[in-house]
Symmetry: C2
Protein backbone atom coordinates (compact mmCIF):
# COMPACT_ATOMS: atom_id res chain seq x y z
CA UNK A 1 0.00 0.00 0.00
CA UNK A 2 1.44 3.34 -0.99
CA UNK A 3 -0.48 5.91 0.93
CA UNK A 4 0.20 9.64 0.61
CA UNK A 5 2.06 9.52 3.91
CA UNK A 6 4.62 7.04 2.62
CA UNK A 7 4.95 8.81 -0.69
CA UNK A 8 5.75 11.98 1.21
CA UNK A 9 8.16 10.39 3.66
CA UNK A 10 10.04 8.18 1.25
CA UNK A 11 13.32 9.77 0.33
CA UNK A 12 14.08 11.63 3.51
CA UNK A 13 12.79 9.38 6.21
CA UNK A 14 13.76 5.97 7.49
CA UNK A 15 11.98 3.47 9.68
CA UNK A 16 9.30 3.09 7.07
CA UNK A 17 9.02 -0.65 7.76
CA UNK A 18 8.63 0.11 11.44
CA UNK A 19 6.15 2.85 10.64
CA UNK A 20 4.08 0.54 8.47
CA UNK A 21 3.93 -2.00 11.27
CA UNK A 22 2.94 0.69 13.76
CA UNK A 23 0.18 1.99 11.56
CA UNK A 24 -1.15 -1.48 10.91
CA UNK A 25 -1.21 -2.40 14.59
CA UNK A 26 -2.66 0.91 15.70
CA UNK A 27 -5.07 1.89 13.00
CA UNK A 28 -8.48 1.95 14.49
CA UNK A 29 -11.23 3.21 12.39
CA UNK A 30 -11.89 5.01 9.17
CA UNK A 31 -13.69 8.30 9.56
CA UNK A 32 -15.46 10.06 6.72
CA UNK A 33 -16.43 13.69 6.62
CA UNK A 34 -18.49 15.65 4.13
CA UNK A 35 -17.47 19.08 2.94
CA UNK A 36 -18.21 21.56 5.68
CA UNK A 37 -18.16 19.06 8.56
CA UNK A 38 -16.17 19.94 11.65
CA UNK A 39 -13.74 17.37 12.99
CA UNK A 40 -13.19 19.43 16.13
CA UNK A 41 -13.82 22.98 17.26
CA UNK A 42 -11.74 25.54 19.13
CA UNK A 43 -12.10 24.78 22.82
CA UNK A 44 -13.30 21.19 22.43
CA UNK A 45 -11.56 18.52 24.42
CA UNK A 46 -9.10 16.57 22.33
CA UNK A 47 -9.92 12.90 21.92
CA UNK A 48 -7.98 11.19 19.18
CA UNK A 49 -5.35 11.80 16.58
CA UNK A 50 -5.92 11.39 12.85
CA UNK A 51 -4.09 10.88 9.61
CA UNK A 52 -5.67 12.45 6.54
CA UNK A 53 -5.93 9.73 3.89
CA UNK A 54 -7.75 11.74 1.27
CA UNK A 55 -9.28 15.18 0.85
CA UNK A 56 -8.60 18.74 1.95
CA UNK A 57 -9.07 20.26 5.39
CA UNK A 58 -8.75 23.71 6.93
CA UNK A 59 -7.39 24.56 10.35
CA UNK A 60 -8.86 27.89 11.26
CA UNK A 61 -9.96 30.29 13.97
CA UNK A 62 -13.08 32.41 13.91
CA UNK A 63 -12.63 35.85 15.46
CA UNK A 64 -15.11 38.23 17.03
CA UNK A 65 -16.43 40.38 14.22
CA UNK A 66 -17.02 37.40 11.98
CA UNK A 67 -13.60 37.25 10.40
CA UNK A 68 -11.65 34.03 10.08
CA UNK A 69 -8.00 33.16 9.75
CA UNK A 70 -6.89 29.86 8.27
CA UNK A 71 -3.58 28.79 9.77
CA UNK A 72 -2.89 25.80 7.59
CA UNK A 73 -4.35 23.43 5.04
CA UNK A 74 -3.90 19.74 5.92
CA UNK A 75 -3.72 17.56 2.82
CA UNK A 76 -3.59 13.81 2.35
CA UNK A 77 -0.60 12.44 4.24
CA UNK A 78 -0.77 15.04 7.01
CA UNK A 79 -1.55 14.32 10.64
CA UNK A 80 -4.22 16.36 12.39
CA UNK A 81 -4.88 16.68 16.11
CA UNK A 82 -1.29 15.74 16.77
CA UNK A 83 -1.55 17.95 19.81
CA UNK A 84 -4.11 15.61 21.36
CA UNK A 85 -1.11 13.77 22.81
CA UNK A 86 0.14 16.93 24.50
CA UNK A 87 -2.67 19.32 25.27
CA UNK A 88 -6.17 19.18 26.56
CA UNK A 89 -8.25 21.34 24.30
CA UNK A 90 -8.21 22.21 20.62
CA UNK A 91 -6.69 25.56 19.79
CA UNK A 92 -8.39 25.77 16.38
CA UNK A 93 -11.32 24.52 14.34
CA UNK A 94 -10.70 21.68 11.94
CA UNK A 95 -13.17 21.63 9.07
CA UNK A 96 -13.40 19.50 5.92
CA UNK A 97 -13.20 21.49 2.71
CA UNK A 98 -14.02 18.45 0.58
CA UNK A 99 -15.10 14.93 1.33
CA UNK A 100 -12.38 13.64 3.62
CA UNK A 101 -11.21 10.19 4.64
CA UNK A 102 -9.27 9.92 7.89
CA UNK A 103 -7.66 7.18 9.93
CA UNK A 104 -8.27 7.57 13.60
CA UNK A 105 -5.74 6.46 16.21
CA UNK A 106 -6.25 5.90 19.88
CA UNK A 107 -4.57 8.84 21.48
CA UNK A 108 -1.75 7.72 23.67
CA UNK A 109 0.66 9.97 25.43
CA UNK A 110 3.74 10.71 23.42
CA UNK A 111 5.86 8.87 25.97
CA UNK A 112 3.97 5.63 25.50
CA UNK A 113 3.86 6.23 21.75
CA UNK A 114 7.65 6.41 21.71
CA UNK A 115 7.86 3.21 23.67
CA UNK A 116 5.30 1.15 21.80
CA UNK A 117 5.38 2.65 18.33
CA UNK A 118 8.71 4.37 17.76
CA UNK A 119 8.26 4.50 14.00
CA UNK A 120 5.04 6.44 14.31
CA UNK A 121 6.48 8.67 17.01
CA UNK A 122 9.38 9.59 14.76
CA UNK A 123 7.07 10.26 11.83
CA UNK A 124 4.97 12.48 14.05
CA UNK A 125 7.95 14.42 15.27
CA UNK A 126 9.15 14.87 11.72
CA UNK A 127 5.73 15.98 10.52
CA UNK A 128 5.34 18.47 13.30
CA UNK A 129 8.77 19.96 12.69
CA UNK A 130 7.87 20.30 9.04
CA UNK A 131 4.57 21.94 9.88
CA UNK A 132 6.30 24.36 12.18
CA UNK A 133 8.57 25.38 9.32
CA UNK A 134 5.59 25.83 7.02
CA UNK A 135 3.92 28.06 9.58
CA UNK A 136 7.07 30.11 10.00
CA UNK A 137 7.12 30.69 6.26
CA UNK A 138 3.51 31.78 6.43
CA UNK A 139 4.44 34.27 9.14
CA UNK A 140 7.07 35.73 6.82
CA UNK A 141 4.49 36.08 4.07
CA UNK A 142 1.85 37.68 6.26
CA UNK A 143 4.34 40.03 7.85
CA UNK A 144 6.47 41.23 4.98
CA UNK A 145 5.00 40.36 1.61
CA UNK A 146 2.26 42.21 -0.27
CA UNK A 147 -0.83 40.46 -1.53
CA UNK A 148 0.58 39.43 -4.92
CA UNK A 149 3.72 37.99 -3.37
CA UNK A 150 1.69 36.18 -0.72
CA UNK A 151 -0.61 34.58 -3.23
CA UNK A 152 2.28 33.56 -5.47
CA UNK A 153 4.08 32.03 -2.52
CA UNK A 154 1.00 30.13 -1.38
CA UNK A 155 0.41 28.70 -4.84
CA UNK A 156 4.03 27.56 -5.01
CA UNK A 157 3.71 25.89 -1.64
CA UNK A 158 0.49 24.08 -2.56
CA UNK A 159 1.97 23.05 -5.89
CA UNK A 160 4.98 21.53 -4.17
CA UNK A 161 2.98 19.83 -1.43
CA UNK A 162 0.48 18.36 -3.86
CA UNK A 163 3.31 17.02 -6.00
CA UNK A 164 4.73 15.30 -2.90
CA UNK A 165 1.70 13.16 -2.21
CA UNK A 166 0.20 12.53 -5.62
CA UNK A 167 0.93 12.52 -9.31
CA UNK A 168 1.18 15.98 -10.76
CA UNK A 169 -1.56 16.80 -13.24
CA UNK A 170 0.83 19.03 -15.12
CA UNK A 171 0.13 22.72 -15.22
CA UNK A 172 -3.43 22.34 -13.98
CA UNK A 173 -3.96 22.26 -10.23
CA UNK A 174 -7.30 21.02 -8.93
CA UNK A 175 -7.75 23.06 -5.77
CA UNK A 176 -11.01 22.92 -3.84
CA UNK A 177 -10.47 26.32 -2.23
CA UNK A 178 -12.78 29.21 -3.03
CA UNK A 179 -11.68 32.82 -3.07
CA UNK A 180 -12.90 33.31 0.47
CA UNK A 181 -10.52 30.55 1.59
CA UNK A 182 -7.61 32.18 -0.19
CA UNK A 183 -8.52 35.45 1.50
CA UNK A 184 -8.60 33.82 4.92
CA UNK A 185 -5.27 32.09 4.37
CA UNK A 186 -3.54 35.21 3.10
CA UNK A 187 -5.07 37.68 5.52
CA UNK A 188 -6.66 39.90 2.89
CA UNK A 189 -10.26 40.57 1.89
CA UNK A 190 -12.24 38.40 -0.48
CA UNK A 191 -12.66 41.24 -2.91
CA UNK A 192 -8.98 41.92 -3.08
CA UNK A 193 -8.34 38.31 -4.06
CA UNK A 194 -9.92 39.04 -7.43
CA UNK A 195 -7.53 41.87 -8.12
CA UNK A 196 -4.59 39.87 -6.88
CA UNK A 197 -5.31 36.93 -9.19
CA UNK A 198 -5.85 39.38 -12.01
CA UNK A 199 -2.42 40.87 -11.47
CA UNK A 200 -0.84 37.42 -11.53
CA UNK A 201 -2.79 36.69 -14.72
CA UNK A 202 -1.52 39.90 -16.33
CA UNK A 203 2.00 38.71 -15.60
CA UNK A 204 1.16 35.43 -17.35
CA UNK A 205 2.03 33.56 -14.20
CA UNK A 206 -1.24 31.79 -13.37
CA UNK A 207 -4.86 31.73 -14.45
CA UNK A 208 -7.69 31.27 -11.97
CA UNK A 209 -10.93 29.47 -12.58
CA UNK A 210 -13.26 28.15 -9.95
CA UNK A 211 -11.56 25.17 -8.34
CA UNK A 212 -8.86 25.10 -11.02
CA UNK A 213 -5.62 26.98 -11.29
CA UNK A 214 -3.41 26.87 -14.35
CA UNK A 215 0.26 27.44 -13.77
CA UNK A 216 1.50 29.37 -16.78
CA UNK A 217 5.03 30.05 -15.59
CA UNK A 218 6.16 28.33 -12.41
CA UNK A 219 9.57 29.98 -12.34
CA UNK A 220 8.04 33.41 -12.59
CA UNK A 221 5.59 32.53 -9.85
CA UNK A 222 8.44 31.42 -7.61
CA UNK A 223 10.34 34.60 -8.33
CA UNK A 224 7.34 36.78 -7.50
CA UNK A 225 6.63 34.94 -4.27
CA UNK A 226 10.24 34.67 -3.17
CA UNK A 227 9.67 30.95 -2.94
CA UNK A 228 12.71 28.85 -2.09
CA UNK A 229 11.68 25.32 -2.75
CA UNK A 230 14.27 23.72 -0.52
CA UNK A 231 12.35 24.59 2.62
CA UNK A 232 10.00 21.82 1.54
CA UNK A 233 12.59 19.60 -0.12
CA UNK A 234 13.71 18.52 3.25
CA UNK A 235 16.76 16.50 2.50
CA UNK A 236 17.71 13.91 5.00
CA UNK A 237 20.64 14.62 7.21
CA UNK A 238 23.58 13.22 5.34
CA UNK A 239 25.81 12.39 8.31
CA UNK A 240 24.30 9.03 9.14
CA UNK A 241 26.79 8.20 11.86
CA UNK A 242 24.18 8.78 14.55
CA UNK A 243 21.38 6.80 13.03
CA UNK A 244 20.26 3.87 15.16
CA UNK A 245 23.21 4.44 17.45
Amino acid sequence: MNTPLFTKLSGFFRLSAELRADLASLKREEVRLSAGDYLIRHGDRYQDMYLVEDGWMLRARGLPGGTRQIVNVPLAGDFVCYNAMMFERAEFDLVARTQVRLSRFACQSFESMMHNHPGLAAALAWSNAREETLLAERVVSLGRRDSVERLAHLLCELHARMAMVGPSSGAEMIIPLIQEDFADILGISVIHIVRTFKRLAMEDAVEYRTRRIFIRDLEKLQRIGGFESHYLHFTQRSDARWLRA
Copy 2:
Protein backbone atom coordinates in the same frame (compact mmCIF):
# COMPACT_ATOMS: atom_id res chain seq x y z
CA MET B 1 19.04 22.82 39.81
CA ASN B 2 15.87 24.57 38.76
CA THR B 3 16.51 25.80 35.28
CA PRO B 4 13.95 27.75 33.28
CA LEU B 5 13.19 24.58 31.34
CA PHE B 6 12.10 22.70 34.44
CA THR B 7 10.19 25.66 35.77
CA LYS B 8 8.28 25.79 32.51
CA LEU B 9 7.67 22.06 32.27
CA SER B 10 6.75 21.41 35.87
CA GLY B 11 3.01 21.19 36.23
CA PHE B 12 2.08 19.78 32.87
CA PHE B 13 4.91 17.44 32.05
CA ARG B 14 6.12 14.20 33.46
CA LEU B 15 9.36 12.30 33.11
CA SER B 16 11.21 15.15 34.70
CA ALA B 17 13.54 12.79 36.55
CA GLU B 18 14.28 11.04 33.28
CA LEU B 19 14.73 14.38 31.57
CA ARG B 20 17.17 15.56 34.22
CA ALA B 21 19.21 12.42 33.77
CA ASP B 22 19.17 12.82 30.00
CA LEU B 23 20.28 16.41 30.17
CA ALA B 24 23.06 15.57 32.62
CA SER B 25 24.39 12.72 30.49
CA LEU B 26 24.09 14.59 27.23
CA LYS B 27 25.01 18.13 28.06
CA ARG B 28 28.13 18.96 26.21
CA GLU B 29 29.29 22.46 26.36
CA GLU B 30 28.21 25.89 27.41
CA VAL B 31 28.08 28.42 24.59
CA ARG B 32 28.02 32.16 25.15
CA LEU B 33 26.91 34.77 22.68
CA SER B 34 27.08 38.55 22.80
CA ALA B 35 24.19 40.69 21.66
CA GLY B 36 24.12 40.69 17.89
CA ASP B 37 25.99 37.40 17.42
CA TYR B 38 24.55 34.86 15.02
CA LEU B 39 24.16 31.30 16.22
CA ILE B 40 23.31 30.14 12.71
CA ARG B 41 22.22 31.73 9.45
CA HIS B 42 19.59 30.87 6.89
CA GLY B 43 21.08 28.25 4.59
CA ASP B 44 23.84 27.12 6.94
CA ARG B 45 24.22 23.43 7.58
CA TYR B 46 22.73 22.42 10.90
CA GLN B 47 25.24 21.05 13.39
CA ASP B 48 23.92 20.87 16.91
CA MET B 49 20.88 21.51 18.99
CA TYR B 50 20.76 24.01 21.86
CA LEU B 51 18.82 24.86 24.95
CA VAL B 52 18.64 28.54 25.84
CA GLU B 53 19.69 28.87 29.48
CA ASP B 54 19.61 32.63 29.71
CA GLY B 55 18.98 35.62 27.47
CA TRP B 56 16.80 36.55 24.51
CA MET B 57 17.17 35.42 20.92
CA LEU B 58 15.44 36.19 17.63
CA ARG B 59 14.61 33.73 14.87
CA ALA B 60 14.29 35.77 11.71
CA ARG B 61 14.52 35.96 7.96
CA GLY B 62 16.00 38.79 5.95
CA LEU B 63 14.20 39.49 2.69
CA PRO B 64 15.34 41.10 -0.53
CA GLY B 65 14.68 44.81 -0.13
CA GLY B 66 16.26 44.91 3.30
CA THR B 67 13.16 44.06 5.29
CA ARG B 68 13.15 41.44 8.02
CA GLN B 69 10.51 39.26 9.61
CA ILE B 70 10.99 37.79 13.06
CA VAL B 71 9.13 34.51 13.37
CA ASN B 72 9.64 33.90 17.07
CA VAL B 73 11.53 34.97 20.13
CA PRO B 74 13.26 32.11 21.97
CA LEU B 75 13.58 32.80 25.69
CA ALA B 76 15.31 30.93 28.49
CA GLY B 77 13.96 27.39 28.63
CA ASP B 78 13.35 27.15 24.88
CA PHE B 79 15.15 24.79 22.52
CA VAL B 80 16.67 26.19 19.35
CA CYS B 81 17.85 24.30 16.27
CA TYR B 82 15.51 21.48 17.19
CA ASN B 83 15.24 20.89 13.46
CA ALA B 84 18.89 19.90 13.28
CA MET B 85 17.68 16.39 14.07
CA MET B 86 15.38 16.42 11.05
CA PHE B 87 16.62 18.71 8.34
CA GLU B 88 19.87 19.62 6.74
CA ARG B 89 19.99 23.37 6.55
CA ALA B 90 18.70 26.22 8.68
CA GLU B 91 15.52 27.85 7.45
CA PHE B 92 16.10 31.04 9.46
CA ASP B 93 18.72 33.18 11.11
CA LEU B 94 19.18 32.83 14.86
CA VAL B 95 20.62 35.92 16.47
CA ALA B 96 21.26 36.89 20.08
CA ARG B 97 19.36 39.97 21.19
CA THR B 98 21.17 40.08 24.55
CA GLN B 99 24.04 38.19 26.04
CA VAL B 100 22.95 34.58 25.78
CA ARG B 101 23.99 31.38 27.51
CA LEU B 102 23.23 28.12 25.70
CA SER B 103 23.76 24.43 26.34
CA ARG B 104 24.86 22.59 23.27
CA PHE B 105 23.89 18.97 22.61
CA ALA B 106 25.40 16.55 20.18
CA CYS B 107 22.84 16.29 17.47
CA GLN B 108 21.55 12.77 17.18
CA SER B 109 18.76 11.65 14.94
CA PHE B 110 15.40 11.77 16.62
CA GLU B 111 15.15 7.98 16.39
CA SER B 112 18.31 7.47 18.42
CA MET B 113 17.27 10.26 20.76
CA MET B 114 14.04 8.44 21.49
CA HIS B 115 15.95 5.28 22.16
CA ASN B 116 18.75 6.68 24.30
CA HIS B 117 17.14 9.71 25.91
CA PRO B 118 13.36 9.32 25.92
CA GLY B 119 12.85 12.05 28.50
CA LEU B 120 14.58 14.60 26.33
CA ALA B 121 12.81 13.35 23.21
CA ALA B 122 9.45 13.81 24.90
CA ALA B 123 10.38 17.27 26.10
CA LEU B 124 11.45 18.19 22.60
CA ALA B 125 8.23 16.93 21.08
CA TRP B 126 6.24 18.85 23.67
CA SER B 127 8.25 22.02 23.10
CA ASN B 128 7.86 21.81 19.37
CA ALA B 129 4.13 21.27 19.59
CA ARG B 130 3.92 24.29 21.85
CA GLU B 131 5.98 26.38 19.47
CA GLU B 132 3.78 25.34 16.58
CA THR B 133 0.76 26.59 18.52
CA LEU B 134 2.50 29.88 19.26
CA LEU B 135 3.26 30.33 15.59
CA ALA B 136 -0.32 29.57 14.64
CA GLU B 137 -1.46 32.29 17.03
CA ARG B 138 1.00 34.66 15.41
CA VAL B 139 -0.48 33.82 12.01
CA VAL B 140 -3.92 34.77 13.33
CA SER B 141 -2.55 38.08 14.57
CA LEU B 142 -0.74 38.94 11.36
CA GLY B 143 -3.67 37.92 9.21
CA ARG B 144 -6.67 39.33 11.00
CA ARG B 145 -5.72 41.81 13.71
CA ASP B 146 -4.81 45.46 13.29
CA SER B 147 -1.62 46.91 14.68
CA VAL B 148 -2.99 47.79 18.12
CA GLU B 149 -4.51 44.35 18.60
CA ARG B 150 -1.32 42.68 17.40
CA LEU B 151 0.87 44.61 19.78
CA ALA B 152 -1.48 44.00 22.70
CA HIS B 153 -1.53 40.30 21.92
CA LEU B 154 2.25 40.10 21.65
CA LEU B 155 2.73 41.84 24.99
CA CYS B 156 0.30 39.44 26.63
CA GLU B 157 2.17 36.48 25.17
CA LEU B 158 5.55 37.75 26.32
CA HIS B 159 4.14 38.56 29.74
CA ALA B 160 2.81 35.02 30.12
CA ARG B 161 5.93 33.35 28.78
CA MET B 162 8.26 35.39 30.98
CA ALA B 163 6.15 34.55 34.00
CA MET B 164 6.54 30.85 33.17
CA VAL B 165 10.29 30.78 33.39
CA GLY B 166 11.13 33.41 35.97
CA PRO B 167 9.76 35.44 38.81
CA SER B 168 7.43 38.17 37.68
CA SER B 169 8.73 41.65 38.39
CA GLY B 170 5.20 42.88 38.84
CA ALA B 171 3.84 45.35 36.35
CA GLU B 172 7.24 46.17 34.94
CA MET B 173 8.53 43.99 32.13
CA ILE B 174 12.21 44.19 31.28
CA ILE B 175 12.21 43.50 27.55
CA PRO B 176 15.40 43.88 25.53
CA LEU B 177 13.53 44.46 22.27
CA ILE B 178 13.77 47.78 20.50
CA GLN B 179 10.97 49.25 18.42
CA GLU B 180 12.50 47.87 15.25
CA ASP B 181 12.20 44.37 16.73
CA PHE B 182 8.56 44.92 17.61
CA ALA B 183 7.97 46.13 14.06
CA ASP B 184 9.63 43.05 12.58
CA ILE B 185 7.66 40.72 14.83
CA LEU B 186 4.32 42.38 14.12
CA GLY B 187 4.84 42.98 10.42
CA ILE B 188 4.44 46.74 10.57
CA SER B 189 6.86 49.62 10.09
CA VAL B 190 9.13 51.00 12.79
CA ILE B 191 7.47 54.36 12.66
CA HIS B 192 4.03 52.94 13.08
CA ILE B 193 5.16 51.25 16.29
CA VAL B 194 5.32 54.66 17.90
CA ARG B 195 1.73 55.43 17.04
CA THR B 196 0.64 51.97 18.15
CA PHE B 197 2.27 52.23 21.58
CA LYS B 198 0.83 55.68 21.92
CA ARG B 199 -2.66 54.37 21.32
CA LEU B 200 -2.18 51.68 23.95
CA ALA B 201 -0.88 54.36 26.31
CA MET B 202 -3.94 56.54 25.69
CA GLU B 203 -6.08 53.58 26.69
CA ASP B 204 -4.05 53.33 29.92
CA ALA B 205 -3.14 49.77 29.03
CA VAL B 206 0.66 49.95 28.85
CA GLU B 207 3.46 52.48 28.90
CA TYR B 208 6.56 52.08 26.77
CA ARG B 209 10.06 53.14 27.66
CA THR B 210 13.25 51.92 26.12
CA ARG B 211 13.73 48.33 27.25
CA ARG B 212 10.95 48.62 29.81
CA ILE B 213 7.23 48.18 29.49
CA PHE B 214 4.80 48.96 32.28
CA ILE B 215 1.60 46.99 32.28
CA ARG B 216 -1.07 49.38 33.51
CA ASP B 217 -4.09 47.15 32.96
CA LEU B 218 -3.46 43.55 31.99
CA GLU B 219 -7.12 42.67 31.59
CA LYS B 220 -7.69 45.53 29.23
CA LEU B 221 -4.62 44.53 27.27
CA GLN B 222 -5.91 40.99 26.96
CA ARG B 223 -9.29 42.25 25.84
CA ILE B 224 -7.76 44.47 23.19
CA GLY B 225 -5.53 41.72 21.86
CA GLY B 226 -8.13 39.00 22.01
CA PHE B 227 -5.68 37.06 24.13
CA GLU B 228 -6.92 33.76 25.51
CA SER B 229 -4.37 32.75 28.07
CA HIS B 230 -5.21 29.06 28.03
CA TYR B 231 -3.41 28.53 24.75
CA LEU B 232 -0.25 28.91 26.82
CA HIS B 233 -1.56 27.37 30.05
CA PHE B 234 -1.19 24.00 28.53
CA THR B 235 -2.82 21.76 31.01
CA GLN B 236 -1.79 18.19 31.01
CA ARG B 237 -4.16 15.68 29.54
CA SER B 238 -6.27 14.58 32.45
CA ASP B 239 -7.06 11.07 31.25
CA ALA B 240 -3.92 9.39 32.45
CA ARG B 241 -5.00 5.90 31.52
CA TRP B 242 -2.59 5.77 28.60
CA LEU B 243 0.45 7.08 30.38
CA ARG B 244 3.35 4.63 30.47
CA ALA B 245 1.09 1.92 29.09
